[in-house]
Symmetry: C2
Subunit: 321 residues, 2 copies
């Protein structure tokens, strides 16, 4: 059942002993809304813990500095930024059918909780949570403000993406009153890279090939390359964005060999070209600007087939001779 | 003479036939405040042109789309985001002694104009200009909003740096009402790179060396390297930031050979270490987090001397044996 801000505020005031569930592979928004809510509840005299199937990532250390789990029998289960109970992960799966309240911003929310507050237009769950806290007349402190800020900043690429709302900026202006360390947080969220990540980025840059009057960029990573170079598999996250960073590139492609001769293709558009339509030709799909598909064969074959799908979408006549 | 917002608004209302001067090597803030002011004046029935010693850079094309210089005899000279008349560049130097009004946010403003409106705490001149336009009860349109937004976004690294003010966020929330194309602008400002820039970045990454328990990163570019690789000199702007992107690095150094055996050193701090103090030892200076100096000798010598200055500041005992 969908509820509104006021009902959510009343719910939170009238319950106690909270387990707050975050999604697996936790990002800044689920961590920020989880700890932001936890600290707000604790400051309101409630008992509350934050739970996650994975370890809390080190990069969000400032969110859980000084945090200690409390001992109590859980009575109220709240999920934050968890669009689908499958995303709770293995350790928290046991709570999937007993979520009393879910606070979220994903349009795809599966409505699995007894009560659901979802604003699909919000840039982040932290934006929604801030509005709940206002409804509760709750005054944040510095750590809560940093949690909420981080959720908004990470989900909007530091206010860069199209999902950035006016409210994201307005809320941030207010949160800054509590003395957020913007510079340090943003450096840790957006600038610092691991050696392994730098190595992957360097490989991708060096492997980039340009086609169709340099309007299409393509880089491939084979199992053989990974074996020879020792590139870290887990450092490929979000790497597809690199394929459209060169000026003039309209469609970017990253091809990654998953099993021998089986390739996962990530496609990005930096123009009006709908890459989900291109990927659909190969049995894949996604969004207009970010899509994917799977292809089998030799790498050269896969490249040619992809180009033969991309070329007409870019207005190139019968590209293959 | 320093004047306030109200006096600036009255000045702009009571004058006409404006030449608006921007600084050489124009950035997003001087361009945004220049064109933002120009369009606002024109919409208020005044005549106004934007002037620059350099060509308007292509990346700011959306600011001057549809812009045509008007024909009139200049009566009022306004400089925007120009802290020192030397920064007007060769073509505009003729106006340096006749600037009637300067609108700026640099604490270092040389107070060369007859009237000066400067807010050193503002994140950008566009932030100051927005406040002037409010004082004039002027309603922006989409293009003016995009000009002002771009100035604020570029000067704050898209709201990432410590100079980002609450007002920067509040103003942005208001500007977004005019339908700014945030995604496209930020992609062009922050994500797209030229082939030449990518090449420079790749070189810097590959040349990076790590010292002092990997807490100090250092990369050097010699004249010989530039000759052999064809790296573009003009693409080194802002490259020093790359020296502190690796996790754990506290001090980053980029060494660039200017003339044979003469090196320009850029130093960045990603910690509490004051790099201006380190550079001061070598006759340089700057800010706590960003400083520089010049050194002569062989490259190896220069590196060793720098490390001998950096090591004690990082708490390493007598680093040179």
């Amino acid at each position: 059942m969908q509820i509104n801000l006021k009902e959510t505020a009343e719910f939170l005031k009238s319950h106690d002993n909270y387990y707050i569930l975050t999604h697996q592979s936790p990002d800044g928004d689920t961590m920020g809304s989880g700890f932001g809510l936890c600290y707000a509840l604790r400051k309101s005299g409630k008992k509350a813990n934050v739970l996650c199937s994975d370890e809390f990532p080190k990069r969000y250390h400032f969110m859980y500095e000084g945090y200690e789990p409390q001992k109590f029998s859980p009575e109220t289960i709240v999920a934050v930024d968890v669009a689908d109970r499958k995303l709770l992960g293995s350790k928290l799966a046991q709570y999937g059918d007993y979520v009393d309240l879910c606070i979220d911003h994903h349009v795809s929310n599966e409505d699995y909780a007894e009560k659901l507050l979802v604003y699909p237009d919000a840039s982040a769950t932290c934006e929604v949570l801030y509005r709940v806290l206002c409804e509760m007349d709750f005054e944040p402190d510095k750590q809560i403000a940093e949690c909420l800020y981080t959720g908004i900043a990470t989900d909007t690429g530091c206010f860069k993406y199209a999902n950035t709302t006016q409210l994201a900026h307005t809320i941030t202006a207010k949160l800054m009153e509590y003395g957020i360390n913007i510079e340090q947080i943003n450096r840790e969220m957006f600038d610092i890279k691991s050696k392994a990540r730098l190595k992957v980025e360097q490989y991708i840059n060096s492997a980039m090939e340009y086609y169709l009057d340099d309007k299409c960029a393509m880089a491939a990573v084979t199992l053989d390359t990974i074996k020879k170079t020792g590139l870290a598999q887990e450092e490929f996250e979000g790497i597809a964005g690199m394929s459209v960073q060169l000026e003039g590139v309209q469609v970017g492609v990253i091809i990654k060999e998953k099993d021998e001769g089986k390739f996962k293709v990530s496609m990005r558009s930096a123009s009006d070209i709908d890459v989900s339509a291109i990927c659909a030709k190969f049995g894949g799909g996604g969004h207009v600007k970010a899509a994917g598909c799977s292809l089998e064969g030799s790498l050269d074959d896969v490249k040619l087939r992809l180009l033969s799908g991309i070329a007409p979408a870019m207005g190139f006549d019968l590209w293959l001779a």
